[in-house]
Symmetry: C2
Subunit: 301 residues, 2 copies
């Protein structure tokens, strides 16, 4: 089953202990698509400027990602720049130039409107609602968000929460949105706002999955070397939503397995600058790492 | 198989969001013993002052913990006092009165010297060595330590590392001891100093187990309410070493299962002030939570 993603497309400048890269392919929708594309067809909704290299579009299309929903407008592509400290645990944002992304109005091609699986990456909640309004019968919608919308656009975000099956948040966002310091209590409180599924992403510690009052945990795949963690969370989302759409089922074992795939894709993402590892990744490598992840956690009782 | 533990015995004063308790039974050896005692006979080596309530000794003995190695000397028992913030994530030490613990010289009763399984809780590395010198044929020795000994007594600590099979450290100690920021690299570097097994305790995120170059992960059991996390790490140690001694085997599946029992005992410990939850805990409750922990992490590939 196809999965539609709406979110940022960017050109990123990254400084990390392993080196520096200028104006490389980035953005949440892009990371999501390249992760999800390993499992299922992807429809991408986003905007780029007239400086966006055609080779990037070609690279996405060569991996079965539809770019019919990618708007190309006059001006510069969204540019993000950041610097990572030792072991890539700390991140400092150096620049956020929204450029053409500032006026982004998602418009779905007719061919996208019947899509059942949707991932609303982190954009203004009004735009998330606008996308949902253009989809005829959404069946499984997951949304990401951020501290900025929780503090500044809570009423709109609450409307989003009423219309999605899953919310993705990190630990800080979970606390901020729920008012709860305890992660389990936070997930429960967020679920009470609408989404039966809450995924709390814990970075190097994996993720906590809440589903109708049941918990599941997935660890992060332990990496010896982290090159660039940019996009790991969106790659997690892509691995999750992509395998879920491919399976066509929404039950706890399937969600748990999808979260494990998410963890695996998030880890691969960190092993190269930008999307370079996601671009050179085989399904066999993914499956092998999933088996390894299971072995890491499955003890005998 | 019996497990011997040497470490602190204390009277603690705890302030937490859930309340305040004065001069309650505490200390690493005590938490360890009450956790391990659910699985195997325990021999306790420690020191208390003449203010130490006889009822505490009776409580330990009633749970099959031998206190033949517990010295009772003139003076006051070690007293620790701390305050926990919201959700018990942050801890402030208010007082550390070593008292009789300052001059502690562990002496093993003859009946303890043939013991094969040993847990050296966090004490001066010279005392850890002194204990090992009194054991005729130690088979499996695990040691805990802390930042204070890593910075101040590294040569002695390195001698300990040459004589133990397992080292327990938290994340900060792992970085400090190895010079590595990455957890996997840190575990590998510590193993190269001696212990084939390295357990990196990650608090609310569980633990990472390194065994001869192989990794395993155990999550913390997710709790909705944390009353008092004092002693959770030592209870983890007790669950780990206690089940390991009971099994009589040292292989990766057994170590992984032991770490899971450790996680379960650590979580139970947090559910009451001091040792109160460990004292009122059945083997059935432990096994039930172990099964639940496995369910939380074991996804289908």
């Amino acid at each position: 089953m196809t999965v539609l993603v709406v979110g940022s497309m960017a050109l990123d400048t990254i400084e990390a202990p392993a080196g520096r890269r200028e104006m490389i392919l980035g953005g949440a929708a892009n990371y999501f698509s390249l992760a999800a594309g390993h499992f299922t067809p992807v429809q991408l909704v986003g905007v780029v400027g007239d400086d966006f290299p055609a080779a990037h579009v070609a690279a996405l299309e060569s991996r079965g990602i539809s770019t019919a929903g990618l708007q190309r407008v006059a001006g510069k592509t969204f540019h993000w720049s950041g610097r990572y400290g030792d072991n890539c645990n700390e991140r400092e944002t150096l620049a956020t130039d929204l450029n053409v992304f500032a006026d982004f109005k998602p418009v779905l091609p007719d061919s996208y409107r019947a899509t059942r699986h949707v991932f609303l990456a982190n954009i203004h909640p009004q735009l998330q609602l606008d996308v949902l309004d253009q989809i005829s019968a959404p069946e499984f919608v997951a949304a990401d968000t951020m501290n900025f919308w929780i503090s500044g656009e809570l009423p709109l975000l609450r409307r989003v929460l009423q219309r999605v099956q899953a919310l993705f948040v990190n630990e800080g966002e979970a606390h901020q949105l729920s008012g709860e310091r305890n992660l389990v209590a936070a997930a429960r409180a967020i679920a009470a706002m609408g989404p039966p599924i809450v995924m709390v992403k814990l970075g190097a510690f994996g993720a906590l999955l809440w589903w109708h009052g049941e918990l599941r945990l997935v660890p992060a795949f332990p990496l010896t070397t982290v090159i660039d963690p940019t996009g790991a969370g969106d790659s997690f989302g892509g691995g999750f939503a992509g395998t879920l759409a491919a399976s066509g089922r929404i039950d706890l074992p399937t969600l748990h397995r999808a979260a494990a795939f998410g963890s695996v894709l998030g880890a691969f993402c960190c092993e190269g600058f930008g999307v370079e590892r996601l671009l050179h990744l085989t399904r066999a490598e993914i499956d092998q790492r999933l088996s390894k992840l299971r072995q890491l956690v499955a003890f005998d009782t």
